[in-house]
């Protein structure tokens, strides 16, 4: 009897799916995925020479992330308890990851000097990526839309420039200009080879800057483009069956994007630590 009931349910579900498939979809709408990443000024401000100071949604996302980090830090620091609650345990876990998992496990020396920068960049990129996964009413006509400040090349290049400048500052500060630059070349090699290796090293330093910024930027753009395409596919196919199936797929993609947001913050911070640690301990 129970087995018969199962069959009835299966038939009902199949008929419902077939009905969904046959039902016509909603109104035809065009989808512009690239428009999600276009920046239009929300508050128009006068340009300062070649620099446009208008406030667009990337600026608002950056302010939002900064506010969240500052408020989070103040709230945590004011109510430190010996037995942490849920929120404090989460932030302490992230802090421990940044200190022990990133700074201490990669850098041989100078952890106390450089951990503030590495921890700050980890939290900044992490909160920015996570906030980008919350729909905010900053799209066209104030509709809900996804955007991340880190899906903007200017933001990631600025972050990577901090790491680039701090790397060479750390090396020069410890060894002096002459010793630091000569540490790029192997000792006891013929001069021609030394110059050749110097050029290769200088190019690789520039490419570190490029790869550090482009990695974060492209990951965030690709993630948000895939999310946008999955949300928009229901409008393109115009079938309720595909729309229902796509809702499940969108949730899976969304969960994967949360994972990517954390991993990218981790990779950005750990590569910054590797570069700064490499400059600090290059003279051996």
């Amino acid at each position: 009897m129970k087995k018969g009931l199962k069959w009835v349910w299966l038939v009902v579900v199949l008929v419902a799916l077939a009905g969904l498939f046959l039902l016509p979809g909603g109104a035809k709408e065009t989808v512009n995925v690239a428009g999600e990443f276009e920046l239009t000024p929300i508050v128009k401000l006068p340009a300062f020479g070649p620099v446009d100071l208008s406030i667009n949604k990337a600026v608002i996302y950056l302010w939002l992330a900064t506010t969240v980090i500052v408020i989070m830090a103040i709230v945590i620091a004011r109510n430190l308890k010996p037995q942490p609650g849920r929120f404090q345990a989460a932030v302490e876990g992230l802090y421990g990851l940044a200190r022990d998992g990133i700074a201490r496990s990669v850098m041989k020396s100078g952890v106390d000097t450089w951990f503030p920068y590495i921890g700050a960049v980890f939290f900044f990129v992490l909160i920015n990526n996570i906030i980008g996964l919350i729909p905010l009413p900053l799209g066209e006509h104030h509709q809900l839309s996804f955007y991340t400040a880190t899906a903007n090349l200017y933001v990631t290049v600025t972050l990577a420039l901090f790491t680039f400048v701090f790397t060479h500052y750390a090396g020069i500060n410890r060894y002096g200009v002459r010793n630091y630059v000569s540490s790029w070349m192997p000792t006891g090699a013929p001069p021609v080879l030394k110059q050749f290796i110097f050029v290769i090293h200088a190019v690789s330093e520039i490419f570190r800057l490029v790869s550090l910024s482009v990695r974060l930027f492209a990951n965030m753009v690709a993630g948000h483009a895939i999310l946008a395409v999955f949300f928009a596919m229901a409008l393109i196919f115009q079938s309720y069956l595909i729309a229902v199936a796509l809702q499940g797929a969108s949730v899976l993609i969304y969960l994967f994007e949360i994972f990517v947001a954390v991993i990218q913050a981790f990779i950005f911070a750990i590569l910054s630590a590797v570069y700064i640690g490499g400059a600090l301990d290059s003279g051996h």
Binding site: A34, G101, S105, V106, S211, V214, R215, F217, A218, N219, V221, A222, I263, F266, I267, I270, L271, V274
Partner: protein, 77 residues
């Protein structure tokens, strides 16, 4: 065929071909890392940290292809 169609074809080819190398590389990288964690579980955290550094560097190659594809579609009009 208008010239922009070639740019879009090139974008698809760039992304598809550019994903082959990093795919193979990430497979080898993570496979070897898991193998060594299984062999020496006591240094698992060290291996995991270095694996993530390697993932970041390897994955960047696919992302260069993605950026090239983006440039071909949106800039080289």
């Amino acid at each position: 065929m208008n010239p922009h169609a070639y740019a879009e074809l090139g974008a698809g080819l760039a992304m598809g071909l550019g994903a082959i190398g990093p795919g193979i590389g990430l497979g080898i990288l993570i496979g070897k890392a898991l193998e060594s964690i299984a062999r020496q579980p006591e240094v698992a955290s060290d291996i995991r940290t270095n694996m993530f550094i390697g993932i970041g560097v390897t994955e960047a190659v696919a992302l260069y292809a993605f950026v090239v594809a983006l440039i071909l579609v949106f800039v080289a009009k």
